[in-house]
Amino acid sequence: MANGLGCVRARNQHLQPQNMKIAPSYRTIVALLAFPTLCTLTQLLALAADTAQKKLVVGFSQVGAESGWRTANTESIKSEAQKRGIDLRFSDAQQKQENQIKAIRSFIAQGVDVIAFSPVVETGFEPVLQEAKKAGIPVVLSDRAVKVSDPSLYVTFLGSDFVEEGRRAANAVAKLTGGKANIAELVGTVGSAPAIDRKKGFEEVLSKYPDMKIIMSQSGDFTRAKGKEVMEAFLKAPNAKEINVLFAHNDDMALGAIQAMEEAGIKPGQDIKIVSIDGVRGAFEAMKDGKLNVTVECNPLLGPQLFDLIEKVANKEEVPKRVVSQEGVYDQAQAAAELPKRQY
């Protein structure tokens, strides 16, 4: 109608002159102040219980809690620190590099003795590592590496060799199929070091076998849900029948894919051979049931090895630049025996 534009917010104009009272806001300000005060109190209590004595202070920045592997890794580090009486400042980056940089910078400000971290991605840590170096705090890398122009920015790197894991997986595939394979690949989170390196190592070996080729490849983000969903899509492709091997960049995705296969009436481990990486407990259970063929171990229990290194570094002892964690390749035959040892 004619007054189509008017009236819409007419009510606002008819508001009575606002009371200029400030009284209610005082109340809210008090409420606001109460919150941090409460935090302070609880924290003080916690501190009081924690009798401060001179301990080795280590700051550790973890990637996140994105997979079973990662939480096992976290557990191992935390429990080992507790066992050794080390004051561990643990920070979870929630898969965000920016959080990790913040944490490292904060460790520097806190004046910890050693900084250790598992980088979310390889690049971009140079400036903050330089700060650490300037502050004289040694840095130990765990699980994943960083790309830096100046190798003196970190003291040592403890972790698996992802490329090697990829190679091992490819060799396992070759052994399973006699060098003839049409492979579906579940790639890890795009851009992450394990995904890049595992693919690299895998393809490196693949180039030696002319009859082994990847016919489908898609990211499953290292998660079970995505692994399952992507596998479902793989199995609907017209050339799905040709797939005889699944290579998953981690066990979680493989476990998701196994479910998809079972729903499709395909026998995982037989109709389609499955090779994955990590070696978590779930994978061993699946192997025991014959649903998974090979898992290439990527040991998450880095705690003891890590703190050995850290203590050496703190005591200014000489350590090698690269320490590869000890890990193996397991197949179904070994699964039953190995399973009880897997607590994660």
């Binding site: 109608m1 009510r11 996140g64 809690a65 994105e66 997979s67 079973g68 939480t71 976290t74 979870d92 929630q94 795009v190 489908m216 490849s217 898609q218 990211s219 499953g220 983000d221 998660t223 079970r224 849900a225 995505k226 399952k228 969903e229 992507v230 479902e232 899509a233 609907k236 492709a237 017209p238 799905a240 979680d252 476990l255 998701g256 479910q259 729903e263 499709a264 009436g265 779930g282």
Partner: protein, 370 residues
């Protein structure tokens, strides 16, 4: 051969549904879904292949139904919230809470599956009620009120699981997201039952009228004696319940609860589904079935992208383009502009369009009585 026949049958049924819906608002949503399916029919080999496996149907379209259940469930709750003029950003986080609660009870506390499921549903419903209290009780803007739980909820979920990914094998829990009933995924039954429940709630009772009324004109509804606060409280609570169901399905689907990833960004998909389903973000008229169709559309899009081997990183782009396209077609000013540019096309669009045609001249015009 069989495929050819079943495809034809499918299209005949689909076409007749579309024909029946002409002139209705959800014509657009079903039409969009049809276009997407048509694309797959010709360009995605194997997409329409369907077979019987272990006594149930198996194929890409079945996957869409199963995987899409989460979004469909969420959108059923979301559509009512949006109808009241609100939005619930916290559904993804509530899903994570539900998953965390159920698996924690199941695995760590060794409770029965029934208890775990019930507890998860109760807690997620309470989470919804919390949103309801903020929005209805305190009168806080919905985006903001639910933002609180969206931010904090995932933290709470992680608190419950203690940051662990909890795996479970309980058959009842696993059945929720993986079982089959009448040769179709059980999740479909779950969606249909929830749809039925929602339908009963809003169409067999007067709640639907109240929701639309509150969403259209809050103040006038209050003057008419509608308890607008109660209505709002109810829809947020229901949305929490739906999110809880979706969370259970999501964790059951992969037999584990991953507080970090379950339902991540799914609130956006749910809102999208509702909008694709023809319900305006401004509130008012809502379309329950439209929301379900919208959920199907989103999942079909996702599955199509997987099937066509589009990298999962780039897959948001088509989704974004779909949002814009759908919104543009719902935007009146766009349709007017379009019909100016392409007259003949505009003439086709107009009668099919979602707005009821202008029926009378006198109705819009104040004329003194003779």
């Amino acid at each position: 051969m069989i495929d050819w026949v079943s495809d034809l049958l499918f299209w005949i049924v689909f076409g007749s549904i579309l024909f029946l819906l002409r002139g209705q608002r959800i014509f657009w949503s079903v039409g969009a879904l049809g276009l997407l399916l048509l694309f797959n029919q010709f360009f995605t080999p194997g997409f329409f292949h369907i077979q019987i496996l272990d006594g149930h149907l198996y194929g890409s379209r079945i996957d869409v139904l199963n995987q899409g259940a989460k979004v469909m469930l969420l959108s059923l709750g979301m559509v009512l919230v949006i109808a009241t003029g609100g939005v619930d950003l916290s559904v993804g986080a509530v899903m994570a809470i539900a998953a965390a609660v159920s698996s924690r009870l199941l695995v760590t506390e060794h409770q029965s599956a029934g208890a775990a499921i019930a507890a998860a549903l109760v807690i997620s419903t309470l989470a919804g009620a919390w949103n309801g209290v903020l929005v209805a009780g305190f009168g806080i803007q919905p985006i903001v009120a639910t933002l609180v739980l969206m931010v904090a909820g995932r933290g709470v979920a992680q608190l419950i699981t203690e940051g662990q990914i909890i795996n479970f094998l309980d058959p009842t829990m696993v059945y929720l997201g993986n079982g089959h009933l009448f040769a179709l995924p059980f999740t479909l039954t779950l969606v249909l039952v929830t749809l039925g429940l929602a339908f009963f709630l809003v169409r067999r009772t007067a709640l639907g009228l109240f929701i639309e009324s509150v969403g259209d004109n809050d103040e006038a509804s209050r003057y008419s004696g509608i308890n607008a606060k109660q209505v709002k409280f109810l829809v947020y609570t229901f949305s929490g319940f739906c999110a809880g169901l979706a969370g259970l399905v999501a964790c059951s689907n992969i037999k584990s609860a991953d507080a970090n990833n379950i339902g991540l960004y799914l609130e956006l998909d749910a809102i999208l589904a509702v909008v694709v389903g023809g319900t305006s973000l401004q509130g008012g008229r809502f379309y329950l079935i439209g929301a379900v169709v919208g959920g199907l559309f989103i999942q079909t899009l996702t599955t199509t992208l997987y099937a066509r081997n589009v990298s999962s990183d780039i897959s948001p782009v088509p989704k974004a383009l779909a949002i814009i396209a759908v919104c543009l077609f719902q935007s009146e000013s766009f349709r007017t502009r379009l019909s100016h540019v392409v007259r003949p096309f505009g003439r086709i669009l107009k009668p099919l369009g979602s707005r009821p045609p202008q029926k009378s001249i006198t109705a819009t015009h104040d004329s003194p009585k003779p």
